[in-house]
């Protein structure tokens, strides 16, 4: 199973790089959500399914949603001003 862990570690590094290199905030949010999916799979491979649960629920649903709402609120406010 060690090669699977290696693949997951590489994938998480790559997806983390995508978060850092994307310069548009909205794309960055999606990249962050994708990174969270990869991290959840990594936790699952490392036999920590409960941590994977929290990572999926918090990292791919709640936190990206809060960011998207904030971006939407900023965009709507900008038009008004």
């Amino acid at each position: 199973m060690n090669w699977l862990v290696g693949i997951m570690l590489l994938t998480s590094a790559l997806s983390g790089l995508l978060v850092v290199t994307s310069r548009v905030p909205r794309r960055q949010v999606y990249a962050m959500a994708a990174n969270s999916v990869v991290l959840a799979l990594l936790f699952f491979v490392l036999q920590a399914p409960d941590v994977a649960y929290s990572e999926i629920a918090v990292g791919t649903v709640i936190v990206p949603l809060l960011f998207l709402i904030t971006l939407a609120a900023i965009a709507m406010n900008k038009v008004r001003r």
Binding site: N2, V5, A48, P49, D50, Y53, S54, A57, V58, V61, I62, L65, L66, I69, T70, A72, A73, A75, M76, N77, V79, R80, R81
Partner: protein, 261 residues
């Protein structure tokens, strides 16, 4: 300091860092071979002493229940602070429709989206409840199950839209649910004190290993955490989603728009 000198400084710093990192990496135990005595002790003792098969729950809700009570209070405080910040600027009134960006066209939801969201939201909520209920037996527990169940609120918003989800999800109800969870946890920690036990001591009958009821007080605390997390994440989502509504005439936000127009 220009770019050249910064690079010159970087080179020795990298060398020092690499040497230090190599020392640490070589001294680490092999991958996948944890030597934690605490972990092996809990693994050996919790099934015998507490009749539970989820060691994470045994640590969180029994061995270190007081720590978890502190974390729970922190979660509730953080959510309360967020709600105060958001409502303080926006007020508690509600409008009927969601806001949209100026000039963006309004697209109806497709029936497929609505159907999928309804199916997935109910399934997800039930799955969250399942994870909470089986917290002492299988991986997961109150926090995980609560977060999963609260994710279904997002699907309700996605499928039903702002106004319907506003009718379905009441911030006051969710806040009461959150408070109820926190109260039950605090009671589970405090009531043993009244009978001469230690705080958060496991005083209920332990039940059978691998049963739905196993772990005594852990079952109560686990359910309390699950309920509190559903409530607090729900409040957080509802209050944030309220930020996307359309401003009403007379709103604080609306005045600036009329000045600009």
């Amino acid at each position: 300091m220009n770019r050249y000198w910064r690079l010159v400084l970087l080179a020795p710093a990298l060398v020092v860092l690499a040497i230090a990192a190599a020392q640490v990496i070589l001294a680490m135990p092999a991958f996948g071979h944890p030597l934690s005595q605490y972990g092996t002790t809990v693994n050996a003792l919790a099934p015998v002493l507490r009749n539970v098969s989820n060691m994470v729950a045994a640590v969180n809700f029994d061995v270190r229940a007081i720590d978890t009570l502190g974390e729970e209070s922190m979660l509730i405080c953080a959510v309360t602070a967020t709600v105060i910040l958001l409502r303080g600027r926006r007020g508690e009134d509600m409008t009927e429709c969601a806001g949209k960006l100026h000039g963006r066209e309004w697209l109806e939801r497709s029936d497929a989206t609505v159907l999928m969201c309804r199916l997935m939201a109910t399934t997800l909520f039930l799955y969250g409840a399942y994870v909470i209920l089986h917290g002492t037996i299988t991986p997961g527990g109150g926090f995980q199950g609560g977060a999963i169940a609260a994710s279904s609120f997002v699907l309700i918003y996605l499928g039903e839209g702002y106004s319907v989800s506003r009718d379905l999800l009441h911030s006051e109800v969710l806040a009461a649910v959150e408070g109820l969870g926190g109260l039950v946890f605090a009671l589970a920690a405090m009531v043993p004190l009244a009978f001469g036990y230690a705080a958060a001591q496991n005083v209920l009958p332990l039940g059978n290993w691998k049963d739905l009821y196993s772990g005594g007080t852990m079952v109560v605390v686990n359910a309390a955490v699950g309920v509190a997390v559903i409530g607090s994440f729900g409040v957080l989502l509802v209050e944030f989603l309220e930020e996307t509504r359309a401003p009403r005439p007379g709103d604080e936000d609306d005045e600036t728009r009329e000045e600009g127009a």
